[in-house]
Symmetry: C2
Subunit: 303 residues, 2 copies
């Protein structure tokens, strides 16, 4: 039986420009990418909020997938979160064209009572204060993974440290890890971050793969899946987290060996996301495609 | 029995500044780093040239190692190659403080007749024309690996393409690969470079590891060894090539599975080089240290 898995995060109306085209007013958001990715491995409990203007029927989006939308709130007087971004020719750099927080600037949606017994929790990126508030509604979480970003590290470090002291795992970009640790070398940065009270830290390096360090001194490094087709990197990080946590929920374990395989699943799941715009890269595949790419990743990384 | 391995490259007097200190007028050069690295695996045939001013006794430097210096020429009227470089705080960016080509701007040293039957050849970075001239003195090489750099790609592309058509393997940095291929995506760039007549291309990504693609469509990706101590990255690329070619010479094979392990050996050998200034990181270790770090690399990259 799968361990229960809860995600709290955003639902967005995205407009993305890449050298391969423009995707206007398409579905995005951290909780959406995460849930789509994690649903390949088992059930997902979804907590997020939209305004009355949201053009997407999430029940339809997740049709046939075990995503429990009991935590989806539609707030009649509010507007849905909107984000616009552009990727340069080399896909490495992203420019934010606009952010309209809208409903995300209000109180977070409540975690339904039926979700309060969740064992695995992913708190997608938002203010650490809101993440703490959401986490407080889960009674006895077994494994809490957290995402964050530069602005919270810079301006809300106290709240962030309170959150990390209650979490088990931080999933973070390399630049954010360097900023949070005040150290350029990622191995040293990992150690400094672990000392904030975490059991494990996962540092994402984009097309250079990822690095995981544990408080017990274990390390794991994995390249990104070597992909020749990258059309839209949006959602890669949340898909990575979704594959990772989805696999942990499926396996019912969080020891380091299981976490290594979970990182590999996160890596291949994200590689499908970035091959196409919005959620299309994930909606057209099945678990067999993911498993087969995992075997391929093992083949091209083992010696 | 080991396959014979020949290297042609530079011997330099280096002055290197990093955040960890300054190493003034120390021994450097591509052939020196390569030979030190490759000598852990078996004999190396060395071809290089210095001026009368060279303060280093290479016989002493390589004492106890099977490096045949029959191809070392001391040119009485010339001056030794000198290079100075500085690394910024994050070790990612290197500034060249000065280059004095000196003897490297003259005719290359001849390949001794006793080396003309060499089977494996590494042509370290220099003008493609000189690399062709050196290669022409080897009768029937089995596997020729080549290094190059931006300025030859930009200004001597014709010569470089003639060289690549005669080589088997190009070992190149990611920026150079992108420049040579005219393509940002490294998988696609690899394919374009392979079409220049190579069997295999190895793309080095610094602290992000390396990528290998073969003309048969095989791929291999490996992270860098996760090191917390990086004091002087000078010589990393040539140590990588030395470990790679050294292992090929030791194993007597150049099939893709052997090349994968060779890349892993190159990776760990380079990780020792960068832990200390000049050649110190390599001189204080033995083959057992390399083998043990290879097993550690396998452990931290497998899932």
């Amino acid at each position: 039986m799968n361990t229960s898995l809860l995600v709290t995060g955003s639902i967005g109306i995205d407009t993305v420009r890449t050298p391969y085209g423009v995707s206007e007013d398409c579905l995005g958001g951290s909780a959406v990418y995460f849930s789509m990715a994690a649903s390949f491995f088992g059930p997902v409990r979804f907590v997020g909020v939209v305004g009355a203007d949201c053009p997407f029927d999430l029940g339809e989006v997740f049709a046939g997938r075990d995503v429990d939308l009991a935590g989806l709130e539609v707030r009649p007087q509010s507007k849905t979160f909107r984000w616009g971004g552009s990727y340069a020719e080399n896909m490495d750099e992203r420019t934010t064209d606009y952010i309209e927080l809208n409903v995300l600037a209000e109180a977070p949606p409540p975690v339904p009572e039926a979700f309060a017994d969740s064992e695995l929790v992913f708190l997608a990126n938002t203010t650490p204060k809101l993440q703490l508030e959401l986490l407080g509604q889960v009674r006895e979480p077994v494994f809490v993974a957290v995402d964050t970003m530069n602005c919270w590290i810079q301006d809300h470090l106290g709240d962030l440290k309170s959150l990390l002291a209650k979490a088990d795992c931080l999933i973070i970009n390399e630049d954010e890890a360097r900023l949070l640790a005040g150290e350029h070398n990622l191995i040293k940065a990992g150690r400094i971050i672990l000392d904030m009270g975490l059991g494990v830290v996962v540092i994402k390096k984009g097309e250079s793969g990822s690095l995981m360090c544990s408080a017990d001194g274990e390390r794991f490094v994995l390249p990104a899946y070597p992909a020749s087709e990258v059309r839209d990197p949006t959602g890669a990080g949340d898909s990575f987290a979704g594959g990772l946590l989805g696999y942990l929920a499926q396996s019912g374990k969080t020891d380091f060996a299981t976490l290594k395989t979970a990182i590999a699943y996160g890596t291949v799941t994200a590689s499908f996301t970035i091959a196409d715009f919005s959620l299309q890269g994930l909606t057209l595949i099945n678990k067999t495609d993911i498993d087969s790419r995992l075997e391929n990743l093992r083949e091209v990384t083992s010696f």
